[in-house]
Amino acid sequence: MNELERVNDNSNHQPVTKTSGPLTTLEVYDQYGAMAYGIILQIVPQPHLAQEILVNVFSSPLLQSCNSYPFTFAVCVIKLARAKAVEAKKQMMAIAPSHKDNNVSSAENTPELIFDLAFRQGYSPDEIAEKLQISRSEVLKAFHEFFKSFPNA
């Protein structure tokens, strides 16, 4: 069983159209495009910009690096989609800064919030630790707690 088969064996959302051999960019897109688009929309809610980022993800030469990536294509696509979306979001924020997230208080330090700040807002664990006045290890532990709190995650 190859990587793509193994991944899809555990998630029946998308059928495996090709069981072995090389995959084209479009085949990878057909398999993970919806997932990547969902991730990008979580970070950049504007559909037109999100679609542009989606095209950039799947036409990026970095997608080739998924070959040497030691884990599944899905995880590689998740990382790439997030990285591209966060990059675009930071560029947007540089043009039109928003202070929406600056008033986060330490009383709201839930794993959901920490995950949101890290994954969707693009803050580094150190920045989150500083913002929430907690230690870096607590930030990382919150990631574990976040996924543990989801029965399907």
Partner: protein, 159 residues
Amino acid sequence: MKTQDFIESGILESYLLGIATEEEQHVVNQMILTHSEVSEYIMRFEKNLQRYFLQNAVPPPTDVREILLLRTNKTDIRKKEKDTYYDIPKDNTKKKEEYLEIEVNDTYIKVHRWWRPAFVAVFVLSKIFLIAGLYYYFKASSQEKEIEKLKTEIVVPRN
């Protein structure tokens, strides 16, 4: 740090989400190679992570696929099974499958490359011997004729 503490520290999640620092990545890579529990946890977490994000999947408009089709050249992307950390111990059986069994059905044979200069040398030597053989043959026959001629010249004055 104990393995279970390491798993619960959240470093693995940050590693797979692309948030970990280089130092943390290095530590995780070491732990994956040395602790099977870590690689097993990562394997489980990868599936869960994909399942989690598939819950929020949004089908993109069909136009996006068309644009992507224009931008890409149908580049081949192959995920190698042996690249996975957790497949390393199981890889022995796959090595046998790396070779394709090909039935060759032609009239050609494959020989060592040293046969080429050997064949050239044999060919050149055969030509040299052939030329030398012809040279000495004609030389010997002309000498015989010369001797015959001299003999007849010697015999004629006696008469």
